[in-house]
Amino acid sequence: MSPYSEKIEGTTCTITVEGDFTQGNTSGIRLAIAEAIKNGVTTVKIDMSETNHIDSPSIGILVATHNSLKAVDGKLVIDRVKPHIVELFSFLQLDKRFAVNPA
């Protein structure tokens, strides 16, 4: 049901989104990240190498994650992002809030 995988190493949690970042996995990822932060994770890495599309609610999740991490002095890193999604983040100026690393 929730096509993503999660790996926690120390204070770093890596989420790999399998496929698009949309309704299908949004809530699962949201819960997983919230749980991880509660357990002391301060760095959240999201691997979007397979993601071609991200919908607005998912953008909301990223912003909320960013806001949550800001409260614990942590950071959000989005890795291996496809060019058009990089472009999207840049329009939304989200690349100024958290790290967006292009693929």
Binding site: S56, G60, V63, H66, N67, E87, Q93
Partner: protein, 1064 residues
Amino acid sequence: MTFDNDELLKEFLAETNEQLAGIESDLLVIEEGGENIDEELVNKVFRAAHSIKGGSSLFGLSKIQELAHKTESVLDLIRSRVIAPNPEIVNILLASFDKLRELFENVLESNEMDISEHLVALAGLATSHLPQKDKGLFHQPGKIKLPPGANLKISEMDLEMARKNGQHIYFAEYDLLHDIEHANKNILDVVRLLIAFGKVIDSGVNTDIIGTLDEEPSSAIPFQLLFATEVAPEEIGQILELPSERIKLLASPPKDMPAAPPPLQLSGMKPKQEKARPPAESAQPALEPSTAKAPERQKTAPTKSEGASAPGSEKPKKSTGDGAQASVGVEATVRVSVEVLETLMNLAGELVLSRNQLRESLSCDDLRGVHAGSQRVNLVTTELQEAIMQTRMQPIGNVFSKFPRVVRDMSQTQGKEILLQIEGKEVEMDKTLIEGLNDPLTHMIRNACDHGIESPEERIQKGKPAAGKLMLRAYHEAGQVVIEISDDGKGIDPAKIAASAVSKGLLSPEKLQGMSDGEKVALVFLPGLSTAEKVSEISGRGVGMDVVKSNLDRLGGKVEIESKVGVGTRFCIKLPLTLAIIPSLVVAVSDERFAIPQINVVELTRIPAAQIQKRIEVIGDAEVMTLRGKLIPIVALDTVLGINRYYCDPKTGEKKSERRESIADRRSKRFSGSGSVAGKAITDRDVVTDRRYHASDDLNIVIISTGTFQYGMVVDRFFNTEEIVVKPLGRHLKELHEYAGATIMGDGKVALIIDVSGLAAKASMKHVSGTERAAMIAAESARESRQDMISVLLFNNRPGELCGLPMELVQRVERIKRQQVEYSGGRRTMQYRGSSLPLVTLSDVAKVEPIGEDQQLAVIVSSIAGREVGLLVAMPVDAIQAKMTIDQTTHRQKSISGSAIIRDKTMLLVDIAELVESVFPDWKSNQPQNTGNQGKSSLILLAEDSDFFRGQVKRFIESEGFEVAEAPDGQAAWELLCKLGSKVSLLVTDIEMPRMNGLTLARTVRGDDRFAGLPIIGLTSLAGEEDVMQGKAAGIDDYQIKLDRDRLLASLRRILSHGMAGEA
């Protein structure tokens, strides 16, 4: 990347190509203008970048969009005079547009291509060229009140720019969840759409109100943006697709600014409205955009057609490499104005009607109806052909427009100054020709810049202006398009070229001898010859002029070259208007017909059977003919193509196979194999007579020009010149270079089209212009041209003693019986028309034998000194007109003015005036002598190129007591006249003269105030009405026949005694 709608993309690419086409030259003009910015032009380029940006956003071509956007920003800075264009800035802009073109060529991969270099350069431009005070503006926050909660930035610079461009600044807030996600939109599409309408100054998600993961997922994700656009407040809601309460107008341009400035007027607003479709729709766009655009296109392209099409829309993956070539290299579609389409439709309708008419007439055997119908079909077809041709026609400016850039870049890298002048951009040609011209012309232009024009220092040293001139000209001439490329550079040294050709083994030193300079210069077209001592990286790319030539050959064109060392070089390319339908000469050999493109046909000539021996000869193993002093190699078409020859027996009409092996053969096989040069072998049969005598033995020869040399093609028959439709040859025949294609004749049979260069190559045609024989023939012809054309009446004095009298002096010839001659009072007379005609014979004065007793007599009647006199001669009497050289010394004696060789015999030219004067010395005193008021001082200037006539005329003018100053041509006469000034009281001039002819001389004299009153008498052999008119127009007062001494003298006297002529 794939596109849902290829058609729409194609449309966009076509439009873009059109926009990119002219940009290069526009940028160059902008560069030239420097600070004097031509707003209209900058706007044009800006608009192009702008609409590329807009369009590419629709298709998700992000790289293109980004680059166009940055380019547009720089242009915007130029437009608002923040930065002034200089070569550095223009270089970057040019490179960016080149890159854009490249991206468009590889449109499917464009999003993966690297444009960072260009973006950095453009961004650098935007800041580095700002004046110091403006730089500050970039960082200074704009004095404008943003709505509360807006987390966006705007600088004073942004405000300033918007003001200058007449843009409003709006603040808008979307909710990503409701306005985007629930409305099934894509935020990227929305933003791209906005960019198409203006400038997104800043945008971003307001992250503060979203909360953390622990809170309930936010019910809204606000996305805010600051947007500068010309779109008016009442329309902005439509564009942004937001309710008005979420849009806030922050600033408006000052009232005196044009509300919508040039860049975005018509062209800005209209496409915007179309593109304003919701992005969801843009994924599957309907046909609407193209139909909606039709009227607009009509406006921008009202002419027949416009160079536009999708670059490589059929094979978008293929790149043609050099970006600059793209605009003409890969067009796969043609834009046609609706007007032309209408015409085509009408004509198609007409054609259907005509067909119906024909069918009707045929079914009821109505012959008249069939005639009328076919006439109609003929008419409609012609019109249809013209209309369709129009759709293929494009202005040659499409190719020319890239050259300013080429020349600019070359002059920059080479440190030369080159002024390029272009004329005739509007000349239209077939699309395929225009495309094919691109490479050869580029090569020639590069060559001219690289090898032709010298460096400024070198030029100044040679006394030329520092800046070299390169001229590119296109014009129509005789149904062809002529393109000239000329420079005033160092020219091509024929000796150097020749040496290079020999050293590379392309030409034997023997062949070189006798080659004219022009022919040597034309050697540049030989494959494998590169003149640059060091191959430069610019034009020397292993491709020589031979490739240029073969490219042009393929287009059915001809290229000629003229060059003068130190003065410059001029290439002249002649091309047909189209390749699809070409006028051609149809010829036949045996039963087969062939078409020869008219452009290659110089003339048609027929050598009568009787002249074959004289005019066809064999040099080495090549057969040649002489044509007006030129030696031209000839080839029989049937021999080259291996067609069995036959001839039709003129008596029986029976077809027999031809036994002559070569054109020069005049006897049957049996006699021609002697190993000697054909035509020289002596056999008993030869003694009788030349065996070619029948008209069917005449040779029909087409003189053909390949551009580099001429040759004659012997064919059996000539037909008409026809417009033939060129059909490509099938795959199997492609290797036959002697054919250029095929066509279908009126009777349904196929005729092959001859490729004249290919045929010459197959026949291993050789230049014969360098041979000894050619030089001999040329010399002979030159000698002939120097001879005087004289009409003489030939007669005999004694058998074998041929004499002649200039025809102009002959009034009548009477055959008489010996008894008619009377001797009385020591005078020889005869009764003639009721009075006594004094008779003289040559032997009365000259040391010639008297006429024999047994010879038949004739009397030539002349008028001398106002009286008629008869010259008694022996028959036969014959009249000829021939060129002859008159020898004035060998046979000169009293009453014989000279001699000439006619029909292999010496002819004595009789001076009848002198003869009569000697026999009747008292006649002269009856004439009014030149002892009048003018006295002996009257000086007459005589201009005449023929030594003989000059001597004759001079002698009899002098005999009248005038002084004569003589000149061998018009130019010399004019110089002499200027020297002698008013001493000259009359000018007598021949008409046909070298250097300056009589008419020009007369005009020159009349054009000079000093000689306004100088009478001029024109001398001519035979004056026609028209000549007289022409002479009068040029200012000649009177015309006289050269050797008609009496009339000339009378005219002289009359004119001199009355002052001016005019009454003559």
